[in-house]
């Protein structure tokens, strides 16, 4: 009898009640804006992964500066050969955008990963332990918040890229990763975490007071267990939303830094294309218009996705 009962509870039930995520997905599906965002993001990721294969012309630093680009057609208006025209260097804009997609994603994802790691660490410790730890960490966060962060990003990037060996790429698991761009990413992440850390701290403060945490504590669970097994999963939905918005913001910021001339000159990010053609934009307006549209669409997609996720995962905020 007993063994049978055990058997029953071990066999997977046929009709399980919908999980939190299934409910959220159902809610998300009804949100048109969110779906549009998801489609854009999936499209961008696809282009990021495979853009190199269907770009009409090879990538920009193709064996160094001396290689004549794409038949040497400089500043051609959009035509049947160059669908979006060519820029002052003779780069085909369409190819530039397609090749640049992977860099945009690289920036967005890695900046967000580092940002969230710092933010979760700071937010969790401050929110969970409270008292002077919280006080200290929040003071530091505040200082970072009033920091003129863009100015510091520019100084840091400029100074760090002075070092030797920059301008090449390093090899990680067989993939060439541009060094200069990685430095930019690192700097962006360092100045990007405070807002998110504050949000996560707030969530921790909220969940910490809930009854189940109290119950878990009285059962003698360790702090580590409570933080990682109980509180974090509960605020995961907020973290996902913020991460999506952070990706969008990071892409925007990198474009700005590159546009001001602080980016990695050897990596043709979208911002870099805009910067290269800035002084000639009276002529090559197409070289300014289209990469910007690429940035706009990508960032818009991630923002839409973030808003949609927020509606689906935190239904309290919606009716």
């Amino acid at each position: 009898m007993v063994s049978q009962e055990n058997n029953e509870s071990n066999t997977p039930l046929k009709r399980r009640s919908a999980s939190q995520w299934a409910v959220a997905w159902r809610r998300f599906k009804r949100n048109k804006a969110g779906i549009v965002g998801l489609i854009i993001v999936v499209g961008v990721v696809f282009v990021g992964l495979f853009g190199d294969f269907f770009a009409p012309y090879p990538a920009f630093p193709n064996n160094g500066w001396q290689t004549p680009f794409y038949n040497g057609d400089v500043r051609t208006a959009p035509n049947s050969h160059y669908l979006l025209g060519t820029d002052v260097l003779g780069t085909d804009i369409l190819s530039g955008i397609l090749h640049g997609t992977k860099y945009a994603l690289y920036v967005g994802v890695v900046v967000t990963a580092i940002t969230m790691a710092i933010a979760i660490a700071v937010g969790a410790i401050a929110g969970y332990f409270g008292s002077w730890v919280d006080n200290l960490l929040m003071r530091i966060t505040e200082i970072f918040l009033v920091f003129p962060s863009l100015l510091f990003i520019l100084i840091f990037v400029r100074v760090l890229t002075l070092g030797a060996g920059v301008g090449t790429s390093f090899n990680l698991l067989g993939i060439g990763i541009p060094t200069g761009l990685s430095i930019v990413i690192f700097v962006l992440a360092i100045f990007n975490w405070p807002g998110d850390a504050r949000m996560i701290r707030g969530e921790f403060l909220r969940v910490r007071e809930l009854d189940f945490v109290e119950a878990e504590k009285s059962l003698g669970a360790s702090n580590k267990r409570i933080i990682f097994r109980h509180i974090l999963p509960n605020i995961l939905s907020s973290i996902i939303v913020v991460a999506s918005l952070t990706i969008a913001y990071a892409i925007l910021l990198e474009a700005g830094v590159s546009f001001l001339g602080f980016g990695d000159v050897n990596t043709m990010t979208w911002g870099q294309i805009l910067e290269n053609n800035f002084s000639d934009m009276r002529v090559v307006w197409w070289a300014e218009l289209f990469p910007g549209i690429a940035i706009l669409i990508t960032v818009f997609g991630f923002n839409l996705l973030g808003d949609g996720l927020s509606d689906a995962l935190n239904p309290r905020l919606r009716d």
Partner: protein
């Protein structure tokens, strides 16, 4: 007569004492005292970052191998770069307390004369844009939140989401291409026309013409952020119990929305205003670079690219202090706007 004067003086002293004893005054003093270590901390971080990269003369010299060692030593002595970094920092701090920002590494011009004329254009541009953005965003956000998910609301939300998703500088580029290069309505660069050529034929209109495009860019960006924030607050508040109670007691809808809900929705927006001003000041390089605006931001970009350390330090500190002061002003305003806030 004398008695009257005496009593006025007495009253004056009394009032001053009252002010000095008031919680507000002490709060402001405390905040000012808190700002000092903050500003010093930020300056130390900036200083260390730059000078850790090496001394600027050698860095600049790297591309010019023909300069002889004697000249370099002379330059280093001239700029005080031959001393250890902590001593350099203290020298810099002592100078800055006398409002002397040192000398530019390019041409040895005093940084004060270099950036002095650039402070006002930056502040003008930022303040004008911020005020316009704030003024427009409130009615739009309120209107949008009153009928959530209606057609109008969708228009407003997508408009603001668009604004948040757009690179600021790129919006500027597109405006220049359309309104300046193609249509020729507005100037594409600078804050003033040349002596012989004024836009719209009048010195005042000329200045306005130069303001239009940069202001439009800045307004659109902060408008978008503002609308998103205030709308979200309004939505939450309009659903709260006390609004229901106000409605139930028959208060006009107008008064409920503008008198009760808006007041509560706007307080977080004021905090945001301070952060936004800080962000705009720090973000000044973007817009000013695009429009060749003769301000601190554009100067900052060129100084940082050319590693002109004293100028970088000066602009960083100016913008930091402006941000801190803006934060303080907003915190004081907050006390008046939100009666729930008590200063301790």
């Amino acid at each position: 007569m004398l008695n009257k004067l005496k009593s006025i003086a007495k009253n004056g002293v009394k009032r001053l004492k009252l002010i000095a004893r008031s919680a507000m005054f002490r709060y402001i003093v405390r905040r000012l005292l808190y700002m000092i270590p903050l500003a010093i901390g930020i300056s130390i971080i900036a200083f260390i970052t730059m000078y850790a990269a090496g001394d600027p003369i050698s860095l600049i010299r790297a591309g010019k191998p023909n300069v002889n060692q004697a000249t370099i030593d002379g330059l280093k002595a001239y700029y005080g770069l031959d001393k250890p970094v902590p001593v350099q920092y203290l020298n810099w701090l002592a100078n800055i307390l006398q409002l002397n920002f040192g000398r530019s590494l390019y041409g040895g011009q005093s940084v004060n004369t270099l950036i002095g004329p650039e402070i006002l254009p930056t502040i003008e541009l930022q303040i004008i844009s911020l005020l316009i953005a704030f003024a427009i965003s409130i009615p739009i956000a309120v209107h949008s939140a009153r009928k959530p998910y209606s057609k109008q609301d969708l228009t407003v939300t997508s408009f603001s989401l668009f604004g948040v998703s757009m690179p600021t500088f790129w919006f500027g580029l597109i405006l220049i291409i359309i309104f300046s290069f193609t249509l020729g309505w507005f100037p594409s660069a600078g804050a003033k026309g040349a002596a012989g050529f004024l836009w719209w034929g009048n010195p005042v209109l000329d200045v306005i013409a130069h303001f239009v495009l940069p202001v439009v860019v800045l307004v659109y960006v902060s408008l978008a952020q503002n609308i998103r924030l205030i709308r979200a607050n309004m939505l939450e508040i309009l659903r709260s119990d006390y609004i229901l109670a106000a409605r139930a007691s028959g208060i006009s809808e107008r008064k409920v929305v503008y008198g009760y809900a808006l007041r509560n929705a706007i307080t977080p927006a004021v905090t945001f205003l301070a952060l936004a001003l800080g962000g705009m000041l720090a973000g000044a390089p973007m817009t000013e670079y695009v429009f060749s605006w003769p301000g601190l931001g554009r100067q900052y970009v060129s100084s940082t690219l050319s590693l002109d350390f004293p100028t970088i330090m000066a602009i960083t500190m100016l913008i930091t202090v402006m941000t801190l002061v803006a934060n303080l002003i907003m915190d004081i305003l907050y006390v008046y706007i939100d009666p729930r806030v008590r200063i301790r």
